[in-house]
Each structure stands twice: as C-alpha cells, then as structure tokens.
C-alpha cells in the first residue's frame, strides 16, 4: 500500500504537538449529537486549527509528536479523520485505544521520529516496506514494519470486513 499527500501539523496551546487528544480530534460537542460522519469530518481538529478541514486535499497526512489520540475511546475520532480525507497519521507514538480503533476502521498509523517533517512537505509512504519519502526535502525515514495482524486488517478493509470475510477472527 502506497500513500501520498501533504503533511499537516498542529500546535497545542502549550507550544508543541505531543498528546493531541481525542477531544482535539473531534470535540464531545459533536460526538454525542452527530450521526452524519461527513458533517463530523468538517469539525476535525477545529479547536487547534479552524481552517484545517478546508485545507485538506484527499490523501493528506497528519503528522504529530508523542501520544497522538490519547483520551477517550471514541471511534468517532479516526472515523472523522478518515471522512475528512486523511490517508494516514505519522507520529512519534500513539495512544493504545486510538491505535486499535484506527486499524479497525482501516486508517494506517505509522510510528517514527517526526521532527524533520514540516507542515506542507509532500510525503510518500510505503506501508509494506516501512519507508516514508519526503519528496519536498528529499530524504527518507524508515519506520518499524506494521505488525502482520494490522496489515491484514488494513487489507481486509478494517475489522468489520475482516469479520465478514473470515466469519470471526483469523489472525494466525
């Protein structure tokens, strides 16, 4: 699977982009009342950048620091990101529940050092090979291969489709 898009980065009020929690991704204001995922997508990250949704081109990539997606278990977070047209997230690390939810919904997450990626850089990501090419700045970043189970879920199109196809779990 090859993904390509421009990098988006955010700055939290404390001046960095570690610990971007699910309340930033999609505020509880919308989570509980909005069943329309296209509508939900328009509010993605709006507390950090109110123009973010308008600036997304299909396939774009969110880039962040440590512990992205910490906080609640709301699956609306990866869902809203997928519906906003984001193809993957690259961060130094992810919170556990967000990590599972994203792969279950078919959104790939990549863990690596993100310090050298700047807002607007054009990135090309090879999930199988574990390489990010920064096409703007002309350098590569290697990342740890995605565990086989996660790749299987992505290839099956998420957990729901995996279940339909295999009539239950099939990870061996």
């Amino acid at each position: 699977m090859i993904l390509e898009g421009n990098a988006h980065r955010f700055i939290k009020p404390d001046g960095n982009d570690n610990d971007i929690n699910t309340d930033y991704v999609i505020s509880g204001r919308y989570k509980f009342q909005c069943e329309d995922y296209n509508e939900l997508a328009t509010h993605v990250m709006e507390d950090l950048d109110s123009n973010f949704y308008k600036n997304i081109k299909k396939g774009d990539i969110i880039v962040a620091g440590k512990n992205f997606g910490c906080g609640s278990s709301r699956e609306q977070a990866p869902i809203a990101i997928i519906y906003a047209g984001i193809s993957c997230i690259i961060a130094k690390s992810f919170a556990r529940i967000f990590f599972r939810n994203s792969f279950n919904k078919g959104l790939p997450l990549i863990e690596c050092d993100t310090d050298k990626i700047e807002k607007g850089d054009k990135l090309n990501v090879d999930l199988e090979k574990g390489i990010i090419k920064n096409l703007t700045k002309n350098f590569d970043i290697k990342f740890n291969a995605i565990p086989p189970l996660m790749l299987k879920l992505l290839h099956d199109g998420g957990l729901v489709n995996h279940f339909k196809k295999n009539k239950g779990f099939n990870i061996d």
Binding site: G28, F32, E35, N67, C70, S72, S73, R100, L159, V160
Partner: protein
C-alpha cells in the same frame, strides 16, 4: 495448555495480567504475544453504542454470544439534553430489545460504578468496555480495558477479542497516606511522576501498604485513572478486604490471581505515600500536577463532585462531612452527581444530599453529569473549574475556553466553600 493451579504463585514467572490472559487464551501467553482471548463481559455507553450497533449490523449478525454478558449503559448524556441524543437513546433501546442484552437506562448511573456494583464482573475476569475508563475494575483483581466500538461489537458477537499481552509496570506505594490525602491524590501524584504516556500500552500493578489500606471503592479511583498514564490495564492484588466486599455482593466462583515472585516487570517504581500532600492536576493535562501547597488560592467559579472516579458513597461522605453546617461560596456553582441510583438513595438516607442542597449545591441525576461536557454544568469562557473527574483536557467539559483542575472530593468541596483552591487539611480535625 493453561492450568488454573497456576493462578496461585507458581514457578512460571508470570504477572497477574499474563495469567488472566493465559487462562482466557487457553494457553500460556507472555508479554508481546498476540492472542485471541475469551471475554467475560462487554458493554458500551450512550456515546459509543451507536457505532457498536452500526458495526454489529454491518457484520451481518443478529445475535450476541451471550445476552447476559453484554450490556449498554446510558450515562453520558442522561436525561437527554437534545434531539440528536434522544434519537441515539431510542436506537439503543430498540437494539437492546432485539438482542435481549442488559440495559441500564437514564438515572441508573455511570457505567464504571454499575458494572462492578451490580456484580457483572469478578476477580480473574477479562472485560471490555467501549469506554476508556473500563480499566476501573482492575481493583477487583481482574483485567478490564477500554476499546473502541467496533472491537466491542466484535467481542459481543464472538465472545472473544484479540490482544497483545502487555508488559507490566509495578508501582509500590509504601507507608500510609496522611490525613486529608486520599487515593485520588495518590494517583494524581503517580501520574505526575510518570507522565500521561508513562505507561502507554502497559499494564500497571498497584501495590503496597497505602493501597492495602484503601477501601475497594478508593482502589477503583486509582485503577480508573490507569488510562491517564496510557495504560491498558490497572490491576491490584486480591486480599481479605476484597473477599469481604465480594461476599457482601454475593459474588462467588471467581478465580483470584497472584503474580509470581519471579515475574518479569518492565519497571518497578517505589514511592513513599506518607510524603504525598493533597494534589491538583492543573489545566490542561492530567500529568500537570501540583501540590496543594503551591496552588491554593487559585480562583474557582465551578466545583463538581461526581463521576466514575469519585462519585461513590465514600466520596460523597467525605465531602458532606466537610460541608456540614457550612455554605458554598456565593461566587461558586457547586454541582453534585451521585454515581448511581443506589448511591443517590444511600446518600439521601444518610442525610448527605440534604447537606449538599442546604449548602447551595445543585444535585443532578446519577450519570456522568458535566464530566464530559454534554450538559448539566458547562462552564463559561475563561472560568476555572475544580472537579473530582479524571480528565481536564481543553474542551473536556464542553467549553475549550474553560480551565479544569482535578482533585479529591475533599479538596473540591473545600475549594467550593472558599471560592478558591483550598487545602482540605484545614477542614479536618
């Protein structure tokens, strides 16, 4: 093959968590391994169950694996404040009728109070909830964790989930907590020590004299916040106190577990609990903790007593004892939400509700109350809130221009009396 005799101390070198997961996987599994494990109970709440239902239907099945082991609890926006939520509640009630699973409707209480209090879970179990604070029940010597809705839907269908066996970090809290210092202060202190991602993907074992001294409810406050260190599980030892607690509830046939003496831990942290003061998590992260000595005097507009962290009878009792005969500061709004219907009733019988109401509190229906910002006390722009909840993220209570501080029930009520962050030790003799 797994043998239940291994639940006691054995020579296998396994942690409690590895033992529980091994039993549910039917074979010995160790840290790092991915396994398919049977689950004992799975549930969702009103903020996550709509997606559970959608995933369930998308998977094309009609039945859950066991209707007595699946539940939906309406607690996050209850009673419904708006049409969108009302329609989700309706969708949930219809799904429950169709599948025959357990429903707790509005006013019953917060999921993390109800699930252990109603006896749905017991020592040795593996439990999933579509809510991040599902780790609360680790206080009952079991593994419970929050997952997303699709994971929980799959678990409700298959009675199984896939799991990576986590490494365990052990926290030893030696010594005794001082007067005016509670389990909430201890866990805030620990989170401050290791940071909000200090235990990401890991299991946390909380042990030591200070933990042994706590009631089961107070232990739940600690396991509840394991997720605020990023942990998958928070877990505690089985002891006499837990045995008595289970007996009272008529819970039998459980499988208590012990870690082996030669179990491998990722890290072992040791702390002196007697040196801890009342703590406050300052805005906007849970690990931004400060000692009360350094932050008292900070102006407060709203105070909240409740939630799955600190809305239990012990918490209400501590707060009411401090508040008795006093008034809430006229510049503070004090909101109280008992964590369940039973707690509400008990608090009424004991006269606690009267103390709150007379002092100027607004007591709201059992449930999540204003914890998550859906209703029941959304702060206005620029306001300072002090709350007994577990999260103070920007926007958490429904307004991203408010400032949320987290503390124990004693600190929250003392602050509500003074209109500024106050030291509860000054109210205790």
């Amino acid at each position: 093959m797994w043998n239940d005799d291994n639940n006691k101390k054995s020579a296998l070198g396994l942690t409690m968590v590895e033992k529980i997961l091994s039993r549910h996987a039917g074979k010995i599994v160790k840290k790092g391994e991915i396994c398919i494990a049977d689950i004992d109970f799975a549930f969702g709440q009103d903020g996550t169950s709509s997606v559970i239902i959608d995933s369930f239907r998308e998977m094309g099945v009609e039945k859950v694996f066991d209707k007595n082991k699946c539940a939906i609890i309406l607690d996050h926006s209850c009673p419904s404040p708006i049409v969108g939520v009302s329609n989700i509640h309706k969708k949930i009630r219809e799904f429950v009728k169709e599948t025959g699973i357990i429903l707790h409707d509005i006013g019953d209480g917060v999921c993390h109070e109800l699930v252990p209090a109603k006896g749905y879970v017991k020592p040795g179990d593996l439990v999933l909830g579509a809510d991040s604070h599902t780790c609360t029940y680790g206080a009952l010597n079991m593994c419970s964790t929050g997952m997303g809705s699709t994971d929980v839907a799959a678990a409700m269908i298959a009675g199984k989930t896939w799991l990576k066996v986590p490494e365990t970090i052990k926290f030893i809290a030696n010594g005794k907590l001082k007067k005016g210092v509670y389990s909430k202060d201890l866990i805030l202190y620990l989170i401050g020590q290791v940071s909000a991602d200090g235990a990401t993907y890991k299991a946390c074992e909380y042990t030591g004299e200070a933990i042994d001294d706590l009631s089961i409810e107070a232990r739940m406050t600690i396991c509840n916040m394991a997720i605020e260190m990023g942990a998958k599980f928070g877990i505690m030892n089985f002891d006499k106190k837990l045995e008595t607690w289970l007996e009272k509830k008529g819970i039998k046939d459980y499988k208590k577990v012990e870690s082996d003496d030669n179990a491998e831990y990722l890290k072992i942290y040791e702390y002196d609990a007697s040196s801890i003061t009342p703590m406050v998590a300052m805005p906007h992260t849970v690990d931004n903790v400060a000692s009360i000595n350094d932050v008292k005097g900070t102006h407060i507009d709203e105070a909240y007593l409740g939630t799955c962290t600190n809305g239990r009878i012990e918490d209400l009792t501590i707060a009411a004892n401090i508040l008795k005969g006093k008034k809430i500061n006229k510049n503070v709004r004090f909101i109280v939400a008992p964590a369940s219907r039973e707690i509400y009733l008990e608090a009424m019988e004991k006269g606690l509700i009267k103390i709150f109401v007379e002092a100027g509190a607004a007591v709201v229906s059992p449930g999540c109350g204003c914890c998550v910002g859906t209703h029941n006390g959304v702060p206005s722009d620029g306001e300072n809130v002090i709350s007994t909840a577990n999260r103070n993220f920007k926007g958490r209570m429904g307004n991203n221009k408010a400032f949320i501080h987290l503390a124990s029930p004693a600190t929250v009520v003392s602050s509500a009396i003074e209109g500024k962050i106050a030291d509860p030790r000054e109210y205790l003799d």
